[in-house]
């Protein structure tokens, strides 16, 4: 069993099987340290929202346990909810009321003074629209209001479920910057779930990558990327990638396991970019049908593709 200290978040062997037998979470464990921004990453349906549902006491776990600020989610749900602020995947606001009224309701429910409302609305750039109906807010403004609201009760943990979903790239980028700044200013621990892995790479201190209800990697983004290889060699291929894969199998050391997508073969490499360029030049790639060659830094997306393709390949091997 894992060591259970008074950490902001401890998830230990968590299992959730929904009625009907859908196994959404299959025994995941992780801990989040004070002041950390921890990312729960994975594709849609991986089990991220279910995990957050357990932590917010909206989903009853089938097994394992989860502690929030040292409180058990089943035995002490009120203490758990008092310790956290939550921003849901889709907007959860009183649309007929103003931003200010939404903040005030939160203050009353969490029994905290209303004197921080103005400062928080200012911090998220909504001071000038505080008295306007939320119905007139853009998607990004609604999300900023929800983040300000979640911080109003001075939570020890801020849970963000897909906070940038449905927002345009500029707003997404601004929102991540704001989350980082607020986290530092409010000294709050953040658990964020997202399927935008590359966005999380620049924000999260550590990440857990979830696939089909299980954690398949847990580390800092730089370690995960470093373990894969600092660079990716992307090869554009035609309908049949087999000749390219054959060339890569006979290649000199320095290339990792190739990953195939629809029209691309990507190869991780820990070689510096100039050496990788030379190596690529020595291979008979064009003769094998390669149409484009590019070298770029590896990302968490590549880590995820690498880990999931390896896991699926293992699952497909007959016993």
């Amino acid at each position: 069993m894992m060591q259970v200290a008074a950490r902001p978040l401890v998830v230990d062997g968590l299992i959730k099987t929904y009625p009907g037998g859908v196994r959404a979470v299959r025994g995941i464990s992780f801990e989040v340290a004070d002041g950390e921004i921890f990312g729960l990453l994975g594709p849609n349906g991986a089990g991220k929202t279910t995990t957050l549902g357990v932590l917010t006491t909206l989903v009853r776990p089938s097994g394992g346990r989860a502690l929030v600020a040292g409180h058990d989610v089943i035995r002490e749900p009120l203490a758990v909810r008092r310790a956290m602020g939550v921003v849901f995947q889709d907007s959860v606001l009183d649309n007929d009321f103003s931003g200010l009224a939404n903040m005030r309701l939160h203050a009353r429910l969490w029994r905290v003074p209303e004197d921080r409302i103005a400062a928080l609305l200012d911090a998220v750039g909504l001071a000038g629209r505080a008295r306007d109906s939320v119905r007139t807010y853009s998607g990004g403004m609604k999300r900023r209001l929800e983040i300000a609201r979640a911080l109003l009760g001075r939570p020890r943990i801020l849970l963000l479920d897909e906070p940038t979903l449905g927002l345009d790239p500029i707003v997404r980028s601004e929102l991540w910057e704001m989350i980082r700044a607020l986290q530092a200013a409010q000294s709050v621990t953040v658990l964020v779930s997202t399927h935008y892995l590359e966005e999380a790479q620049g924000v999260c201190d550590r990440v857990a990558i979830i696939d089909r209800g299980q954690i398949i990697a847990l580390d800092t983004p730089s370690h995960l990327v470093g373990d894969l290889g600092e660079h990716m060699l992307d090869l554009g291929v035609g309908a049949d990638p087999e000749p390219v894969l054959a060339v890569l199998r006979d290649a000199p050391p320095g290339l990792g396991e190739p990953m195939r997508t629809v029209s691309m073969v990507s190869v991780p490499s820990s070689l510096p970019a100039p050496e990788l360029t030379d190596l690529a030049g020595q291979l008979a790639l064009t003769a094998a049908g390669v149409t484009t060659i590019s070298i770029r830094p590896a990302t968490l997306n590549d880590v995820f593709l690498h880990l999931t393709s390896a896991a699926r390949a293992r699952a497909e091997v007959p016993a």
């Binding site: 929904y18 989903v59 009853r60 009120l78 008092r82 959860v92 606001l93 429910l109 029994r111």
Partner: protein, 266 residues
Amino acid sequence: MTAGFTALYRRRLSVSLSQPAALAAQILTPVLWVLVVGPALSRAFGGFAHGVNYTSYVSLGQIVFVLPFSAMFAGLTTMFDRDWGIMRELLVAPIRRAVIPLASTAVVLTVAAGQFAIIVGLALARGEHFATTPGRLLTAVLAAALLSAGVYGLAEFLVFTITKPQAFGTLITALGATPYVLCGAIYPIAVLPAGIRWLTWVLPWTHTVSLLRYGLMGDTASGLHQIWPDDLPWTGAALLSLAVVAAFAALTQTAAHRAFTRSTLR
């Protein structure tokens, strides 16, 4: 507990009062009945029972139209909160979740009290006379409150059982209008065919309207002896009817609580 209840009550009351058009529309029908249709029918038929004023009779009948309809409509607010509104924010608040439907029921009762006062006030303003005592007035008010709470319990049970808003919209009309037509709100149930009369006896609406008339118009107008045996004393019949409405409220509120818990904790 109290802080959470107060915050939720204030918020839900604001939601209800922020739709003046809906409130006005719900009041318009009884206003028409109390001020126009009731008196017109009374003049046309010259009254229908010895010593019973039809305008007063039909005025109180409107209470079992307006209050249940309003309670059913309140279910729409709950459905909206659940599907597109603030319900999940409330569910992760550090309050006992049972307080959420409790505060909503309290707002339904507040609105019902206002509607009750408007209907009776309009009737009085038109010159009707109600004969009552504190005990009888309490019986009438309690009956109206229990019916409202019961119908809201039914609405909330349906909200957390039915997933489609369209289906719920259809049920508002069915559950709001049908019992009103059958329960003796505008005519005594004694004139109904015997095969249908037994159906009216099990409707909480029938018991409520009888209790309203028992409380505000007296024994004869109540119609309680059209429900219970003639040899039963009036007070006994009233208590039995009150028990029926209370049982209805308890049953639907319990069912609503269970459906709410099942729906909000997966």
